[in-house]
Amino acid sequence: MRSILRRSMFGVLALGALIVPIAARAATEVRIMWYSDGNEGEVVRDLLNRFETANPDIKVILDTVPYKTITENLPAQVASGQAPDMARVTDLGSQAQYYLDITPYIKDQAYWQAEFPNTLQWTRPAGKTDGIYGLMTQLTVTLPFVNESLFEQAGVAVPGPKATWQEWATAAAAVAKKVNAPIPIAIDRSGHRIFGMAISMGAKIWDGDKVALVDPGFKAMTQLIYDWHRDGVMAKQIWGSVGGTAYRGATEEFANGQVVVYVSGTWQIAQFAKTIGDGFDWHAVPSPCGPAACTGLPGGAALVAYKTTKHPAEVARIMDYLASEPVAREFYARTLFLPAHASMLKSGIDYQTKLPQVKESLQSGIAAIAALSPLAYRVQGYAQNRVLFNPTISRLNQAISGEMTLPDAWTRISSDVQDALQAQAVK
């Protein structure tokens, strides 16, 4: 019996010794941690299938995860040296020291430099001004979506392109009152969404190189949001229904026709095309104005590779493929995303949709990118921008819920930001 067992074990080991090298030669596995807002996961899988057919030596495994995994688990995974080969991330700068510079491996550096001039810097580590560390799979910009059907029903004119935040609030409140809509204005509970508004209201964010968040412009923005919650322009069910730094959107409420104006971002366009379609008249409009600007905040998701990958050349081939114009064009056209690709921004994309709302909204998005303030780009490019966003959200929410006064919230926001930056400075 023992000899049979031993022989079997030797047999299995010998077979394994034969199979493993063959399998290893068959294809190099590259893992991508990916999250999806809409259909981009399906689209990229389809594109990668074609890549695999053309490159049989590379097998791409797409690990689809919830967005929270990208923001909360991936950083710890990366810091502990267990990063995937590649990941689709939105918190671009703070993890940049772990990204792989793919410059030595890509085919045509000049193409990348020419086509992604404004966004390559977002994925570079602090202090670096060259190198290619990521491919923007999507460029986004914050802007309001309007339920025009409600405006029509109420007989209220939709404010024009240069309307101020206060004018939008007045109009949205008037519409909501007439048509009995529960939420005149909804703004995503996200720092990213309100910092464009802060810059428009005159916030400078920095004093030279030093973060100086709470200034008159910032106070004006927070005061507006605070007052809107008091007088019912913003409903507590968005910001008040969660605590801490948790994200809360109003996607469902807008799709259900409960929101007159919804301040979110261009990544919602594909969602709304699917959930609302032509159920009512909706479209994105240019960012409302404050005394200083009429800007939203840019953002987006980038595909990055990590230094720990054992397959840098293969990773770069995947990046080159996805960045190539025909592939990227198809990706954007099918996902209804704004391109980060300069030529496509100029020439436009033939988006695969018949809905005029979607085409109009994407056009508003492209126009909004052209109108972005330089300070908005700086905020997006700041590696620690969530250190600014998170305390703003949590403390402002405490003021809205009556736990503290707004001046106390400003004091806490300042100290929270300084504490976080100091903690990071401890070496």
């Binding site: 710890a76 008040g240 969660v242 801490g244 819920s401 106390d408 401890v426």
Partner: protein, 325 residues
């Protein structure tokens, strides 16, 4: 048939016996129990002891580096940071006000949740111990929420309590006004207590029910023959004999309440404001949810929570020992 089974059994024994014999030759007969326990001890060491030791290291080190070796030693400054308060009764004077709000919220939550749960579990157990119709069905009904995942519990209640949820639909349908169940701090806190009781009371009801069934019926029969009223029998027979089970329920309930996180985090996210933010959520958010992970502060807070849980566990052991003696 039995011969074939014996043959198979013997074959299996012959296959597995040689590694065991080899092991015994190596460690000796006295070492065999340790050899059998070793795999579990290894798992315990990797997944319990090592994280505890690491947690202590994180609590006495600063900065934002994840790797323990890269973190500078800061002694007790994380604990000092948590404790820095002008006046402990005025949370606004504390440097880490969110920590003290979480301490306050957790204290209130533990008080209401544990008292409420013991009372409701006791009443339920008393009713289910009586010869009522469909008793087995009702026992299953009360135990069922314990089997549900906390995520499911939270989502069910969110669906019921949200502004356009089932409960508000019923209220509006009955001609009433919408109630901000999850948007008003007082309501939200109360609902976290109630949902937590609903989700866990089945387990405690079962413990009390077992205790009730262990009380000899003769005592009640003797009391009835003496003309003792029911309430007196409850105070003089049921409650004293149920006390060991009640103590177990109390201590387990306290431990569970201090650890409250999952279903409440999904139900309210700690809001509105910080009205339902409890200690474990504070630790989680400080360590992981913010972009800059202040792991030292979170580790220090978790050691304080661990200390409270240790005291409660020791109390449970003490009470259990007393009950046995």
């Amino acid at each position: 048939m039995s011969g074939a089974a014996a043959l198979v059994g013997g074959g299996i024994m012959r296959v597995v016996s040689w590694p065991l014999e080899a092991l015994q030759r190596r460690v000796g007969a006295a070492g065999m129990p340790y050899a059998f326990v070793a795999p579990n001890l290894l798992i315990f060491a990797i997944f319990v002891v090592a994280p505890m030791v690491l947690n202590i290291w994180y609590a006495v080190t600063g900065g934002t580096e994840l790797m323990p070796g890269s973190r500078p030693y800061v002694g007790g400054s994380n604990f000092a940071e948590l404790a820095a308060c002008g006046n402990y009764l005025v949370v606004e004077t504390c440097r880490q006000d969110r920590f003290w709000r979480a301490v306050g919220n957790t204290t209130w939550f533990v008080g209401f949740q544990v008292i409420g749960m013991i009372l409701l579990s006791l009443i339920t157990a008393l009713i289910l111990n009586r010869p009522i119709r469909a008793r087995g069905f009702f026992r299953a009904v009360f135990f069922y929420p314990v089997l549900l995942s906390p995520v499911v519990v939270a989502l069910i209640w969110k669906w019921i309590l949200q502004p356009d949820g089932v409960l508000n639909a019923v209220l509006v349908g009955a001609g009433g006004a919408r109630v901000p169940f999850l948007l008003d701090p007082g309501w939200a806190f109360s609902w976290t207590v109630l949902v937590s009781i609903w989700a866990h009371m089945g387990f405690y009801t079962l413990i009390l029910l077992a205790g009730l069934q262990a009380i000899p019926p003769d005592l009640y029969e003797a009391a009835a023959m003496d003309g003792t009223p029911r309430w007196r029998a409850f105070w003089r027979i049921t409650l004293p004999l149920l006390m060991p089970n009640m103590l177990v329920v109390l201590v387990l309930g306290l431990i569970r309440a201090v650890q409250a996180f999952d279903e409440i985090f999904i139900l309210t996210g700690g809001g509105p404001g910080t009205a339902t933010q409890y200690l474990v959520q504070y630790i989680y958010e400080t360590a992981f949810a913010n972009q800059i992970h202040i792991l030292g502060l979170a580790a220090a807070a978790s050691i304080l929570v661990g200390g409270v849980l240790l005291v409660l566990t020791l109390l449970q052991m003490l009470f259990s020992a007393r009950a046995k003696s």
